[in-house]
Amino acid sequence: MNAPRLIVTASPHVKGDDSTPRIMWTVAASLVPVIAASMFFFGISSLLVVLAATLGALLTERFLGRPRSLRDGSAMITGLLLGLSLPPGIPLWMAALGGFFGIAFGKAIWGGLGQNGFNPALIGRAFLQTAFPVAITTWPTPGGNFFTLKGDLFAVPFMHPVSDVVTSATPLGLFKFEQTLTSVVNLVLGTTGGSVGETSAIVILICGAFLAWKGYLNWRSPVSIILTVLVLGQLLHWINPVRSADGLFHVFSGGLMLGAVYMATDMVTVPTTNKGRWLFGACVGAIVVIIRVYGGLPEGVMYAILIMNAFTPLINRATQPTVFGTVKLKEAK
């Protein structure tokens, strides 16, 4: 008998079908409908912003990341999500800079995929928010011609945008500073001002449900966040309707959906244990409501997730699963 050229591997010798790149690329693909929905409201500007952020992220990953790490698709997600979290009128150079910052300091420096402690897309966004607080809180009005550019997208890099933007406050800003409530119907449909990806809660929910069904994202933290925000928001609303809007408003406004479905599910930066994910979600939800209601900022999803990212190792530590056969051992002692 002719001996074949054998290989030897460790057991298990077979493996399930899912691979990290497959998961990442599917998640990236699932963001396409979200971008499309946004283009429906903001026209070509949405696309440009997302592209700029993605380009910044991908180029940075290419040059600072590990060899061939572009193939795993995670930098793509980072770029897309960063773009989706920015206002549609932000100068493109800022979006790209955010992508660079997020990947360079939120990921590459930590050792690349899987090692980072904070959500890279949100690190990029938090940087932009701190660096250019005006540009990132300038919200163009949705609607208008598809090809009209919202805001000064093509501002010269490192220079002020020349802002003759028609702005509209976001529903959260309206509530916080003008005590004006936007109807939940509009929020769900996405006909309100806001960042590229926060406009259509429904599309995000559907995409998230698809991913959860595929097992590509863990549904526990989003569900936990949404429930906490709903309950806590409603509770505060009953206590003081002027300070806090109702629970549904909280759930459907701002970046909550995008954050809960896509950012609080980034397995790298949230706890690995299921118990931990419930806890993580609950804390994120609580911080979101606290910042929205008592804080100085109208929106707190980004900060809430980043803060809880910092707590992730602690939560992991506290929620280790109980090893089979050790409960009784303890009782016996």
């Binding site: 300091f105 420096i109 940087f127 701190t130 660096a131 250019f132 607080p133 540009a135 010269v156 490192f158 220079m159 002020h160 945008p161």
Partner: protein, 228 residues
């Protein structure tokens, strides 16, 4: 670093303190603080003021000057009195001496540079606890002669100021688009507010460490190549 810690933890009754620095030419004592043994970049001391006030170049100048003043004066005094200060109350005495000089510089600043003093705020009195100063007193001034102590103090002070100024320049130029208040990039520059906020301080210092790390790695790689 170890020398400091060790000496604080152990009250050695010997008059000739073990762990005194080896004899070296004065110039080395001076240069060490600026380069090889830079208090901020190598010893990681005095980070608080370095980050807290480094968002303007003028702050850096003022802080650096005050620190050098305190460092040199206290080193001088401590070194000349090192034989009479009993070991047990060594630290307390050093602190008294340092605090005296700090308060003097604080008062002088308030009187003659009121605006600077206001922006530096509590960080001028906090020079007392700048780990560099006590560290130098412990590791150096308390063990060697006056000339060496002063040379070392100058070196360390300048090293601190240099690191501080690099940070200040980066932060002010990027964060405000100005240098010592002068506009650099014209009126349309979009300043990166981030850089003058707290995270920017951490980031800038992080970048300095990264640059150092990169430099070190490159040197290592070069060495290996040469060896080949």
């Amino acid at each position: 670093m170890t020398a400091i810690g060790v000496e604080i933890a152990v009250d050695a009754p010997e008059p000739i303190v073990p762990g005194a620095p080896p004899p070296q030419p004065l110039s080395l004592d001076f240069w060490r603080g600026i380069a090889d043994d830079n208090p901020v970049m190598i010893q990681m001391l005095g980070l608080c003021p370095a980050m807290a006030i480094s968002n303007q170049v003028s702050n850096g100048l003022g802080m650096g000057a005050a620190t050098i003043f305190v460092l040199v004066c206290s080193s001088l005094l401590i070194s000349s009195l090192r034989k009479v200060i009993p070991n047990e109350v060594r630290l307390a005495t050093y602190i008294l001496i340092i605090a005296t000089f700090v308060t003097i510089s604080d008062l002088v600043m308030q009187a003659y540079f009121p605006l600077l003093s206001k922006t530096l705020g509590a960080f001028v009195p906090l020079i007392v606890v700048n780990c560099i100063i006590l560290g130098r007193a412990e590791a150096f001034a308390g063990k060697v002669g006056v000339r060496r102590a002063v040379a070392d103090a100058f070196g360390q002070g300048l090293g601190f100021t240099a690191a501080l100024l690099i940070m200040c320049i980066v932060r002010e130029v990027v964060g405000s688009g100005t240098f010592l208040g002068f506009q650099l990039f014209g009126p349309h520059y979009e300043p990166w507010v981030f850089m003058i906020m707290p995270p920017g301080g951490f980031l800038t210092m992080g970048l300095m460490f990264l640059a150092m790390g990169w430099w070190g790695e490159r040197k290592k790689a070069k060495l290996a190549e040469v060896a080949k």
